[in-house]
Amino acid sequence: MDTLESALLAALGVVALVTAVLVFTCDSMARVTFALLASLCCVGGVVAVLGLPYLGVVTVLMMVMEMVVMAVFMIAYMMNPAGLMPMSMLHNKRGSLAVSGAVFATLVAAVFLTPWPAQVGEPPPDTTFQVGKALMGEQMLTMVVLGFVLLATMVGATVLATRRGRYDRFGDDLDLRPARDPVRGGVGR
């Protein structure tokens, strides 16, 4: 790794940490969310600089989408009026300080105490291919099962969250056509 990459890595790491601190010091839900997004984008950059461009760029892509959706929900669900008022991200200050301090100390200790393996051979030229092979080769079963679990969770959550079911739409005997929908029209109606 040359000097430029090391400098980039260090800069991304520092910005990631600074924005992560901002997550807990900002007093607006929108700013907090986008500070977290900035931090996670830097993490994506770190991954890309470390030689995994696909994982890095996909991290940025997914995090942007996730944080935008999260901003909507966090603002909607804040306990003060709709997250529009100044607020604090800190709750149970002493307890959380102790827990987070302990976790941070453990992780830092683990970084220095773990006997990291030495590099064997050259890194492959196209790491994207390696990632794909690892996920879709040996771990195919895991990925397929995970995919179904995620899909089932999404469908289940949507079904639980919707007020109206098929009996509301199609009547008690499910024979009402066209369906009784609050908004007229749409696909196939």
Binding site: A30, F34, V57
Partner: protein, 309 residues
Amino acid sequence: MVEAAGWWSLLVAPALLLAGAVLAVAGDALLAARDAGRPRSAVAAARPLLEVPRLLAAQPRRMPAPDRLLWRLGVVTVPVSAVLSVLVIPFGHRTVADLSVGVVWFNAMEVFTWAGLWLAGWGPNAVFSLVGGYRFVAQGLAYELPLMFALITAATGAESLRVGDIVAAQQGLWFAVWMPVAFVVYLAGVSALCFLGPFGYPVGRDIASGVLGETTGADRLLLRAGRWLWLVSGAAMAVPLFLGGGAGPWLPAWAWSSLKTLLVLAVLVWVLRRLPVLRADRYVEFAWVVLIPLAIVQALVPALVVLNR
């Protein structure tokens, strides 16, 4: 075949993108003049460009308790992400950065527009502006998922995420020919990201221009330029993804690239003017019930072809 050009391409690519946007705006103004029965002259074409000095000189509007930082950030994000997306689009045989994950880069820049538009709606601390921002986010997944599948389809056909490889894979047959659904879905997705014409719901008249409502001066200019820059960028990316890039007889590669880009752009500008504004719930339902299944089935086609190769 496609290779990275020198540092000068960093200046040329945004300039070309801007030139494309100016052409698109002028073409749109000509179509508007025709629809209104006004003479189709050079003055009519240049009229929207007069907005540029006017907006630059306009007095900024002050809102009570805006979130200035996020507002600016959102406004700047839209055009900046459009410019960054162009880095991976080859122009002829040259590209600014021949990334091994070019398609994913393009997609990542697109979703930044999502965040930018929501921020631009949130920043001014005004109701209609925020409603506009929420409208875009609410439709975001419906826009983005079919588009992602369309991008994946082209990448699958070429067995690579590198845009240059996708161009090379179309030597015999353009992807638009045997992946027509992905091509159409892609075009719909990129025009939706520009919130122009039928996708202008976030800046709709019913909410007093929504996201654009409270912006004035340079902010307004950046947001409005951003949507046209995205339209050009989307049209330019359609060429390497589906139309064989710079391949073509007689003319040099860069000429074919620009010809095809301008053609796609002209079609997009014309179609966007022809269609009425789509109501969000209608389009969301159409995207989830029709477009996504179609796009998945379309993605299956190159997957099977590649497996049997």
